[in-house]
């Protein structure tokens, strides 16, 4: 196979894949009688055109960073964790149980405890598939898919029969106590100025009491935790012994055994970290935004993590950028749904296309590039 220079492989291949995905998406739009350029305009405006839009874009980005990181940690161990969705839902359950357990004195304490709850529950949900893979060779892809379904059944059970407050009709937990409320970006010093609400004439919008009004955005402190998680995952994978062992195991299980790396241990640890990261997404959506546990709280972010990881070339920095891209796509897609007749499902289509081109047809893209560049025409004699 002709080789591309590394920079082309790292930068060009995902970019071309993305372009191809965009191209096909445009064709789809044309086919249903819509204008791709107009759609893109609305998406950009919806995602970046207003402080409120940014608030949502960053909110989604935060979630996708967690699930993307979750997928790459498993990927580096050679495991394809499709179970992020279920793990994130369980993470939500962990957050809810923690938040509802006590009247938390301050959000920092609550955040610490809830993060732990989220990570532990997410990890626990990954533990069984991991164990079955490590010990009994059950294919982790299938088991994690099954666990996604089992998770949603479990959450339904918890919401309908256990956590639903008496007298409430919709299956949801009670609201979290005020002490567990995380500061949104719009509540934070300095940053909040960005989210000031304006009147149509450009003057600041004031409350009746004459105070500045701010958009209440869902993006919250979790964003900073997500950024830190990127750094931690990078350090973990490329600077620690554990990361070394995870990567070695992912590249070659046989060689790892030779080196004395315990496959069961690494499979378990990698999946627990992966599940924990997916679970931690729940701090963002459940604790930071919804402030109660809802059915299907993860809203597919677990699956988007796959696209984010593929797009991000399995690197935390790539994940960060890809998560922002998907944050844009999600908020932009919501804007499409709100402002046009294009169904919001457009973003699912794009998501599918990105996974298809970056994950499954990458060889095609590479061959295309080799052909375009004329690389490696002359073999080393």
């Amino acid at each position: 196979m002709n080789k591309l220079p590394q920079w082309a492989d790292v930068v060009l291949v995902p970019l071309i894949s993305l372009l191809l995905a965009a191209l096909v998406a445009a064709i789809v739009l044309l086919a249903i009688g819509q204008s791709p350029t107009a759609a893109l305009g609305i998406m950009v405006k919806g995602a970046f055109g207003s402080a409120n839009g940014w608030g949502y874009t960053l909110y989604y980005t935060t979630s996708f960073i967690f699930t993307g990181l979750s997928v790459i940690v498993a990927f580096h161990a050679g495991l394809f964790n499709i179970g992020g969705e279920g793990q994130a839902q369980l993470g939500g359950l962990g957050v809810a149980l923690v938040c509802l357990a006590l009247p938390w004195p301050h959000w920092t304490v609550a955040l610490l405890a809830a993060s732990l709850g989220a990570a532990v529950f997410g990890a626990a949900w990954a533990a069984i598939p991991a164990y079955l893979q490590a010990k009994r060779g059950s294919h982790i892809v299938i088991t994690t898919i099954m666990f996604n379904y089992i998770a949603s059944a479990l959450i339904v059970y918890m919401l309908v029969d256990v956590l639903r407050p008496a007298g409430q009709m919709d299956p949801a937990s009670a609201r979290f106590p005020a002490g567990a409320k995380l500061p949104a970006l719009s509540d934070m010093p300095f940053i909040s100025e960005f989210f000031a609400r304006m009147n149509p004439d450009g003057t600041p919008k004031l409350t009746k009491a004459g105070l500045q009004m701010y958009s209440n955005v869902p993006a919250n402190v979790t964003l900073f935790i997500a950024l830190a998680a990127c750094l931690v995952v990078w350090l973990l994978l490329w600077r620690t012994r554990l990361g070394y062992q995870i990567r070695a195991f992912g590249k070659s299980e046989a060689a790892s055994k030779y080196a004395g790396i315990n496959p069961v241990k690494i499979t378990m640890i990698a999946m627990l970290i992966s599940g924990g990261l997916a679970g931690m997404m729940a701090i963002n959506n459940v604790m930071g935004s919804a402030e109660r546990l809802l059915q299907n709280s993860a809203e597919g972010a677990g699956f988007i993590g796959i696209a984010v990881a593929l797009m991000g070339r399995n690197h935390p920095l790539g994940v960060l950028l890809a998560a922002l891209l998907f944050g844009f796509l999600y908020q932009g897609g919501a804007a499409l749904g709100l402002n046009t007749t294009i169904p919001i499902e457009m973003r699912v289509v794009v998501q599918g296309l990105v996974i298809l081109f970056t994950g499954a047809l990458d060889q095609m893209v590479r061959m295309l590039l080799v052909w375009v560049f004329g690389f490696g025409r002359k073999a080393v004699a």
């Binding site: 339904v156 009709m169 919709d170 299956p171 409350t207 958009s215 959506n285 402030e291 809203e299």
Partner: protein
């Protein structure tokens, strides 16, 4: 510009949301105005949908379904200048209008109709999501049946415990088949999109069905006995008409106020004998006058006429 948010199940569920949609359309046609609309896809989107519309300056914003209650409670105070309307739920905020219906009364009437039409002395009820609101439908229905046939059997089933129950026609169809095999020959579906499956199966199996919320008689002409009308369309229409002057507070739409009713049209004319109609109309009058009180399940979470 007013806006409306449809709940899971979507605006073309032939039933609850579609009724709301029809109301909005009626307003648009009459006034030539435009409105924004949104369909919910997932539980977690509610807040964003609400906030987006409010930020965009939509006013008033109407939402269909009790599930918005909790979210509206937190969003409404952030937009004191915007008016909100919610159907099927009471939200006590200074800028929110809550519209609720007396489904027990309407269901009582169609229950009577079912009891009179049944030959097997067994009738069925298929609810959507198992919540007190839907039990109120079932309970009113059972009372109506028992009022005309005290020894009749009323089979009460629910589709599920989550909002997915509003949109599961397959399950609706299977439940209808099950009820038929237990002898039911009239089935009342109060289950949003799920009801489509119930009505379809009833028609396939040659038994009668009763629609809900919208007039669903047309869906299988000659096979739908009647529909329990819940005038969500009127509620939305009124709200849009009031516009930014939407009056906050609770608005109970009962039989007397025209909030609920049963449907008669060409499609079911052959199914309803004049005697049946007379009996039902008489009962309706009594309810309006207060002479007849239908037990409301939600008042004490129990039903004298049947068990769920």
């Amino acid at each position: 510009e007013p806006a409306i948010i449809f709940d899971l199940g979507g605006k073309f569920d032939k039933s609850f949301n579609e009724a709301a949609f029809n109301g909005a359309e009626k307003w648009a046609k009459e006034t030539g105005g435009t409105y924004k609309e949104l369909e919910m896809q997932s539980e977690a989107q509610r807040e964003q949908a609400l906030r987006s519309l409010a930020e965009d300056g939509a006013n008033p914003i109407i939402m269909t379904g009790f599930a918005f209650g909790d979210v509206l409670n937190t969003v409404a105070p952030d937009f004191p200048d915007t008016k909100f309307g919610i159907i099927d739920m009471v939200v006590e905020q200074p800028n929110v209008k809550s519209v609720v219906f007396t489904e027990d009364q309407g269901s009582y009437l169609v229950g009577m109709m079912a009891g009179l039409a049944s030959k097997t002395n067994t009738v069925g009820f298929i609810g959507g999501m198992d919540i007190p609101l839907i039990r109120r439908f079932g309970c009113g229905y059972a009372q109506g049946v028992k009022a005309v046939k005290p020894d009749a059997t009323v089979i009460l089933n629910m589709t599920g415990t989550t909002p997915a129950a509003w949109n599961d026609p397959v399950k609706g169809a299977e439940l209808a088949k099950a009820q038929k095999s237990q002898g039911a020959d009239v089935i009342y579906a109060a289950a949003g999109g799920t009801g489509v499956g119930v009505l379809q199966t009833a028609a396939d199996e040659g038994i009668l069905s009763i629609g809900v919320d919208s007039n669903q008689n047309y869906m299988h002409p000659g096979k739908v006995l009647t529909s329990m009308l819940k005038r969500v369309d009127n509620a939305v229409y009124e709200a849009f008409k009031e516009g930014e002057e939407l009056k906050p507070g609770i608005n109970v739409m009962d039989l007397k106020a025209g909030g609920v009713d049963y449907a008669m049209d060409d499609n079911n004319a052959a199914l309803v004998t004049p005697e049946m109609k007379a009996a039902v109309d008489a009962a309706a009058e009594k309810i309006k006058s207060g002479e007849l009180v239908v037990h409301d399940y939600m008042s004490d979470n129990s039903c004298p006429a049947g068990s769920f």
